[in-house]
């Protein structure tokens, strides 16, 4: 037993999850500590400081990030001073794929096994050098699959580490918002009134659209680096074709990483005749990342 082990027991840190424990929520890992969330797009880097009380501060956008290492190194010293230990979470908004798959393995714990041994869950769909996350539809055989390039993930982590940051989490903001929307909308028990909705996810330039009809996931489209902070019209143009394909009674559920003024009205114009429900909240993505 080392002296540090005894010290960790005496200062109660041994009773909290370790800072890089992926099975624990961010809130339980960093109680009363300042951290920082990064949102990494194709050419943008958003920085959002998390206060000791777990509340996110206003985000700062570093535009035109052509070389992540250069841009991050320039701002790292200032950012690290505002954190305790340089711990950060990175939300990736580029270079991922969200797809709708069917007939994947439904063995118990498959959503966790896909991270450590994806071949047993994905079978022939498995590709070497990729990392996956999975959300099963409990009513059908369809699943939402998130795919990341492993080399790209390692490169990003190495870049943050070189700039003096301790990476506590790497996640996909769009996928996080999508699972949050599914959790909010699908509240009925199995066999009860099935839910139908057109999910429209916007997350710092990335867009994802999912059609769910009577609990069945019919179609999913995901694109990255579609729109900028000032204009979301490219995202609307991307999902506009769905207007003619979805039933007129299907509500449109909007989930954005934060509230976008006037978005619901614009979507209502695009999806005329559909009920539009905006479940976005200020700093929603940051709050989800803190709470879970």
């Amino acid at each position: 037993m080392k002296a540090s082990d005894i010290a960790s027991v005496l200062n109660f840190s041994a009773f909290r999850p370790e800072p890089d424990d992926p099975t624990a929520s961010w809130k339980s890992r960093f109680p009363n500590k300042r951290t920082v969330f990064f949102g990494l797009g194709k050419q943008t880097l958003t920085v959002r400081m998390i206060a000791k009380n777990g509340r996110p501060a206003d985000g700062e956008v570093i535009p035109d990030v052509k070389d992540l290492k250069e841009s991050l190194a320039a701002a790292s010293s200032l950012i690290r001073e505002r954190t305790d230990g340089g711990w950060c979470a990175v939300s990736l908004h580029t270079r991922y794929v969200i797809s709708l798959e069917t007939n994947l393995s439904r063995r118990p714990g498959s959503e966790d096994i896909v991270k450590s041994n994806p071949r047993t869950v994905l079978g022939g769909r498995y590709e070497r050098g990729k990392r996956y996350a999975l959300t099963h539809n409990p009513e059908t055989n369809s699943s939402i699959l998130l795919t990341f390039d492993e080399e790209q993930l390692a490169k990003i982590q190495a870049t943050f580490a070189e700039c003096g940051f301790n990476v506590g989490r790497v996640c996909c903001g769009t996928y996080t918002l999508l699972t949050h929307a599914l959790d909010v909308i699908n509240t009925t028990k199995s066999g009860e009134a099935p839910a139908s909705a057109f999910f429209f996810i916007l997350c710092e330039g990335a867009v994802c659209a999912l059609v769910q009809q009577d609990d069945k996931w019919l179609e999913l489209r995901s694109r990255t680096d579609v729109y900028g902070p000032a204009d979301v019209s490219p995202a609307l143009e991307l999902v506009a074709p769905f207007q003619s394909r979805i039933p007129p009674t299907m509500p449109v559920v909007i989930v954005a990483d934060t509230t976008i003024p006037g978005l619901a009205e614009v979507v209502a114009q695009t999806f005329e005749g559909h009920e539009v429900r905006d479940i976005s909240e200020p700093d929603l993505l940051s709050r989800l990342m803190i709470q879970s």
Binding site: E18, D20, P22, L153, R169, A195, M289
Partner: protein, 204 residues
């Protein structure tokens, strides 16, 4: 349908050797440690404070003991003085009590002394073997012509209450050394030996 809520999927390279947090019940260990440390601190502080108080009390008690010892010594000295005085007073009382029967004799002798005579010495001695008898020794001073008369006056005043036995007198240069054994008739009746003894009067 309901999709179980899960922790956000993490694509970070997991570090090997990540330990799960200890069970909450084990928080008792550091709590007890801090409780024991706090208790030790409090008890040590109390011990130090009480030790200081007791040391101060010991000093006060020692001072009290010294005062008491001094007081005892003073009292003993005073008591010794008192006992000495009591002893002296007892002796005086015994002497007074013992000399009370002789007071009429001394008064009679002193009243018998005339203006031209002096009583230089008077000594009354009681024999322990025969308490009823007294030995009177006195030295009378006066002119040679009156010394015999003075002696007669004195012996006459003594003879009122006592029987004079074996008187001895010596005249020299106007002074008379007189010695006589006096027998109290009242006491002598209780003493058969004295009664048997015949009165002797030595006169020159």
């Amino acid at each position: 349908m309901q999709i179980p809520r899960r922790i956000i999927d993490d694509f970070k390279n997991d570090r090997k050797g990540i330990l799960p947090p200890l069970k909450p019940i084990l928080r008792l260990v550091p709590m007890l440690f801090y409780l024991a440390a706090a208790s030790a601190f409090v008890l040590t502080t109390l011990f130090i404070v009480h030790t200081g108080i007791l040391k101060a009390n010991i000093v006060v008690y020692n001072a009290g003991i010294a005062d008491a010892k001094a007081q005892i010594a003073n009292t003993a000295a005073e008591r010794a003085k008192l006992e000495m005085r009591i002893l002296k007073a007892t002796d005086v009382q015994a002497w007074v009590e013992g000399s009370r029967p002789l007071q009429p004799l001394a008064v009679a002798v002193s009243r018998s002394i005339g203006d031209n005579a002096t009583l230089g010495d008077l000594k009354l001695t009681r024999d322990e073997q025969s308490p009823a008898t007294l030995t009177l020794t006195m030295k009378l001073g006066s002119a040679s012509a009156t010394s015999r008369q003075q002696l007669d006056l004195t012996t006459a005043s003594i003879a009122k209450d006592y029987r004079l036995v074996q008187p001895q007198q010596t005249f020299s240069q106007g002074e008379v050394d007189y010695r006589v054994t006096l027998v109290n008739p009242a006491q002598a009746t209780n003493d058969p030996q004295e009664e048997a003894a015949p009165p002797v009067l030595n006169t020159p």
